[in-house]
């Protein structure tokens, strides 16, 4: 803990304040000021320049009726569910690696896991966009080669009548409104992010072998070990990841921007609240309204964070 200090000595040590000054200035200028400015400007009709007009809650009432915005929240909700599901493989992989006997293999796998992280996130994004390309894209090739395409066509024709999977027509993953959400779901297959796996692995390694031996003696099988030993102990990390994940997904729009463009793709099916904010500000030039949308999003996230904190504290 930082040592307590008497008034006298503190005055003598005034130079210490200089040490925190740069950080303070930077944070005040580039974090606090914009935040305050955002709140302020959300009450204005403002196009980013010097002209602004106070319209009180005008932006907010417009937001209340904004179908696109609420649609975006709905989309983001679905995306959160997707991401929840995508957490599972990371946990499973961590457990599998953890249970391997050879320490050398464990290390080897960890290294192999980290290698994809070398590719900058952006590049991965674009490679996937390449995969989704209807003509040259790998995804369609895979479907053709494995025959899954025919299965999908059959399902479409006979059972679901989506009219998306048609014979001899390349599947437009990012150009068919109905396929946008599934595409976002598929993205990142097999969904094992190295950071998550390594975190879970570290947590698993703190479990003492004695518990495993006791379980063996009790005749607990593989699945049992997972549910009774590993899962509960990883739960804290899972919960931490969960919180971060939800918050990140809620405000995320970078991926959508790059994969689908500023309007969230055909039919706007990929529109998230963040993307809508970006769109209104930089495409439509409605800065004031964008600030308001940002505010709404922020309040949303804040509430969720507080809720989550309370929930977590109660658990402890």
């Amino acid at each position: 803990m930082a040592l307590p200090i008497s008034r006298q000595k503190a005055i003598r040590e005034w130079r210490l304040y200089l040490f925190v000054l740069p950080s303070l200035l930077l944070v005040a200028t580039f974090a606090y000021f914009p935040a305050a400015s955002a709140i302020y400007h959300s009450f204005f009709d403002w196009s980013g320049g010097d002209t602004k007009q106070l319209i009180g809650f005008g932006n907010f009432s417009r937001a209340w009726n904004d179908r696109v915005l609420w649609g975006a929240f709905g989309t983001v909700g679905i995306l959160i569910l997707f991401n929840l599901f995508k957490m599972v493989p990371a946990v499973l992989l961590a457990v599998l690696i953890h249970r391997l006997k050879s320490e050398r293999w464990q290390y080897a796998y960890r290294v192999l896991l980290v290698i994809p992280m070398i590719v900058p996130g952006l590049v991965t994004l674009f490679i996937w966009k390449f995969f989704f390309d209807p003509n040259l894209g790998v995804l369609n090739r895979v479907l053709d080669v494995t025959g899954l395409k025919h299965v999908l066509v059959w399902l479409d024709g006979r059972v679901f009548h989506w009219h998306i999977f048609l014979e001899n027509v390349p599947v437009g993953w990012l150009s068919q409104p109905d396929l946008i959400l599934p595409s976002l779901f598929i993205w990142g297959f097999p969904w094992i992010g190295a950071v998550g796996v390594l975190f879970y692995l570290a947590g698993l390694q703190s479990i003492s072998t004695e518990i495993y031996e006791a379980a063996e003696l009790d005749g607990v099988g593989s699945f049992g070990k997972f549910f009774y030993i590993e899962l509960p102990l990883i739960l804290t990390q899972v919960r931490l990841n969960l919180t971060l994940l939800i918050i990140a997904t809620l405000q995320g729009f970078g991926m959508q921007l790059l994969l689908l463009g500023e309007t969230g793709g055909p039919g706007g099916r990929g529109m998230t609240p963040g993307l809508w904010m970006y769109n209104r500000a930089f495409i439509a030039g409605e800065f004031g309204y964008a600030c308001a949308v940002g505010m709404i999003l922020f309040v949303f996230i804040l509430m969720l964070t507080l809720l989550n904190n309370r929930y977590v504290r109660v658990e402890k």
Binding site: P4, S6, R7
Partner: protein, 375 residues
């Protein structure tokens, strides 16, 4: 000259809602030039705080600390010409022994050759010459401690401060380092202030000892004087190992003699006749509760055959006997008081055995029960 005067020193730790915690209560102490002054006392007595105030690491709440007449209160630690050896050595972990010792000099912009001379001199003095290129983690506890001492020596300060430097060493190392530090003091002749909770260290190393308790000074004197003429109960019981024995009781007049009668509800109390020399001084305390103190070596066991003066004898019970080789420690009890005696080496004692012991009453100390001061 390195003459330190502490005057009315007070340290108060501020509290959020309150007057604060008073850790040092206005002490006065004078440390002479070239003296080795040991500050000793139980945990929390304020000795370390006092030392740190001398060093400048703690602010003084009230009072002054002066070195050769110059008041140090507002002087920065580095300008006080004082060096400190820390309990946990505080060596810079990524610097070699040489660099650790040279650091302070480097900061003060000493010329390189001067630094080199000083470091090497200190290394020779402490037997560290072969270790100059090692990192602290490659050293043993004793070696690290020596580097910490070396770091202080190269500064050639007016005063050396030691903050319980040996408490992290094992017993054997402690004994050898004790002599090393004493030799160092003889060699350098510098003023040293040494804080410890171990009274053996204080007794063996100090020119004078300052016994502290609860933020105040109990007594300041040479080791022998503390041992033979403790001013109060605390000092008497603190100095000496095994510690002085205390018997609670009253002084009675029996005819022309004054006797001490132990307060004992369980068995016949010990009754001792006080020799004339003592009687005069404590006559005033007749009838009042007192503590009778006597050191273990002044209690002797009486062989069954020998005749002894009944006035200085008592029949007691053996609890445990610890043969130490050169002597035997007997843990005895009167039924109300447990006490220790140091007797000739012998192993003829058993638990619950009743024996006779005699007290050398010329060496007795009496303390007023209420004020705990010596009579």
């Amino acid at each position: 000259m390195a003459h330190v005067v502490i005057s009315n020193l007070v340290k108060v730790y501020p509290e959020k809602n309150g007057p604060g915690v008073r850790v040092v209560h206005g002490i006065d102490l004078e440390i002479r030039d070239g003296e080795f002054m040991a500050l000793v006392g139980p945990s929390g007595c304020g000795k370390s705080t006092t030392l740190r105030m001398i060093a400048g690491l703690e602010e003084v709440s009230e009072g002054t600390i002066s070195l050769d007449g110059q008041v140090l209160n507002d002087v920065l630690p580095k300008d006080r010409d004082i060096a400190m050896v820390f309990q946990n050595y505080a060596l810079y972990p990524h610097m070699t022994v040489y660099e650790n010792m040279a650091f302070g000099l480097k900061l003060r912009k000493f010329p390189k050759p001067e630094i080199d001379t000083r470091v090497r001199e200190a290394a020779v003095l402490l037997g560290l010459t072969d270790y100059l290129d090692r990192l602290p983690k490659a050293l043993s506890g004793g070696q690290r401690q020596r580097v910490a001492v070396g770091r202080a020596i190269v500064r050639k300060p007016k005063v050396f401060l030691f903050d319980e430097p040996l408490s992290n060493l094992d017993a054997k190392m402690r004994v050898s380092m004790r002599t090393e530090i004493s030799k160092l003091h003889a060699r350098l002749g510098a003023t040293m202030i040494y804080v410890t909770h171990d009274q053996v260290e204080a007794m063996t190393m100090g020119d004078r000892i300052c016994v502290m308790k609860d933020g105040g000074i109990q007594q300041v004197a040479t080791p022998l004087e503390l041992y033979n003429r403790p001013k109060n109960l605390f000092v008497a019981g603190f100095i000496g190992s095994p510690p002085m024995n205390f018997f609670a009781g009253v002084l009675l007049r029996v005819g022309s003699e004054i006797w001490f009668s132990e307060k004992n509800e369980k068995s016949p109390p010990v009754k001792l006749k006080l020799p004339g020399s003592i009687s005069k001084k404590i006559a005033a305390r007749l009838g009042q509760p007192v503590f009778f103190g006597i050191r273990p070596e002044n209690i002797h066991d009486v062989p069954a055959t020998k005749d002894a003066d009944a006035g200085s004898m008592a029949e007691v019970s053996v609890e445990i006997s610890e043969p130490m080789g050169a002597e035997t420690l007997l843990y005895l009890t009167t039924g109300a008081t447990s006490f220790i005696a140091r007797v000739r080496p012998t192993d003829r004692f058993e638990a619950n055995q009743r024996i006779n012991v005699t007290f050398d009453l010329a060496q007795a100390h009496f303390f007023d029960a209420a004020s705990e001061q010596v009579l």
